[in-house]
Amino acid sequence: MNPQSTLPPTPAALPPKTGDPSAPAGRGRKGPRSEVRLFAGLGHVALAVWAVIVIVPILWTFLAAFKNTSEIFSSPWTLPAELRWENFGRAWTKANVGRYFLNSVLVVSCSTFGTMLLGSMAAYVLARYKFWGNRAIYYLFVSGLAFPVFLALVPLFFVVKNLGLLDTHTGVVLVYIAYSLPFTVFFLAAFFKTLPSSVAEAGMIDGCGHTRLFFQVMMPMAKPGLISVAIFNIIGQWAQYQLPLVLLSNAKDKWVLTQGIADISVNAGYEADWSGLFAALTIAILPMIIVYAVFQRQIQAGLTSGAVK
């Protein structure tokens, strides 16, 4: 028990001075209650306003995706007169959003798989095996967290070019994996360290090799950590803009979604196809809402995992 709680209440809890000494003593009891109510009331307003600020631009985009250009200009705030699904067809095929979308899916699936495989292998060995140079390699990986990607942009472009990987998905995937390794190794190494060694030892006694031990015993045990990092990497790599911009600049058919949508927005003005742009935006946002709705808890945990170690 806090010894202070036996002391008389601090001034903050005293009834507000109303300037009327004959005010009934009962008002003092009401003070904190009404304060709570006022606070909760104002808080509610603030929360609701922010929710509106978050939702309205997105909802407005979805609505505009069904309008035609004259409606977008004349009545930006009303419901579309009719559902013009052809806007989506135009965005998907003519503006190549379909291709960009599939490119993104392809690149991110490959790069996340590669990141998780290579990252967990490196993290596991660095966390659980003693060998000469272990710490040096670990710090080599972790130091990557401190460098801004923009420092390396020019040399990186030429490394990829000299390897003949410029304007290829292979190049982008390899670069994504390489730049995702610092965080992945850092996080997973800490995670593998916490796993009990008794299970690993039992496996070794049963004649399980190092490699099998990793894939069949340790990987399943590390599943929660692996899922967090995988979500972190999927969302990070899906959102990448600067690397594909540099590495895929001359191969428009290989572009990823972020790059493609940004490009459409530049051209929408010239072609005056605003509804197509809204439809393209909707195609980019809607799947994220669905994924988020399903995996909301895991995504929040995965993205904040970097901060709450």
Partner: protein
Amino acid sequence: MRHGKYPFVIGFLFAPVALYVTFVIWPYAQAFQISMTNWRGLSAPQWVGFDNYRRLLDDGAFWKAVQHHGVLLLALPLITIAIALLFAFLLNVGGKSSGGQRQGVWGSKFYRVVFFFPQVLAVAIIAVLFQMVYRPNESGLINGVLMKFGMEPILFLVKPNLALWSIIAVLVWQAVGFYVVLFSAGMASIPGEIYEAAEMDGASKVTLFFRVTLPLLWDTLQVAWVYLGIAAFDAFAIVAVLSVDGGGPDGATTVLAMEIYRNAFVYSKYGYASAMGVALFFLTLTFAALTLRLSKRESVEY
């Protein structure tokens, strides 16, 4: 774990280390070297020593970018953390307490889900979205309303003194939800008895916030500041897509990443762009070191 340890260790480390050294370490190391040359990509690079850095000092665009990083570095964390702290407090401690259990206001789960959502979207997509929101005529979300009421449209991205703040607003819009969740996690780990004791002493909600929540959340706040600071040093995607011709109008929103990209991939001044990269690196490093030093403070045990 003796037999065959080394072949296994080498086998597992070879591919990740090779990939990492090729695409990360090697380019970083080269950046410092290229920054000392006048390389334009065609002929062999010529060593020019610190010439590029000397030219940086006279480059107006560079200083404008640095200045914008200064504004971002103060405004982005301050605004985001203030809003996120308030919301996290309301969602976790704002409601009435029943049976010693602290409760958030009604609907706090819904708010947390909605607020966090922008974090899932790519910044480039958000930038395109807000291009629509900010459009300067009746087709824009905000100006559409203003003009309905007969007001002059606000030129969010065109007015030089408004453009940077319009961009900061979008960054805040995206970031708040993440920090609400982060701070909520921190607040959840503060034991309820502390609040109870404070309330018995007659502490108001405001006192609770400043005297209990804030000090006990110090470590999380520090993490948030570092994260937002690092975001303030990047900001490439949002500036490249949202601002008028990449950092405009007339350099009013440019950032170092934008200048590096422009110098390297538009003007082919690879040496000069690398020097900017090195400058950015040292700025980031200084910021991180300063934050960690200045915010070092006894963390409260509970």
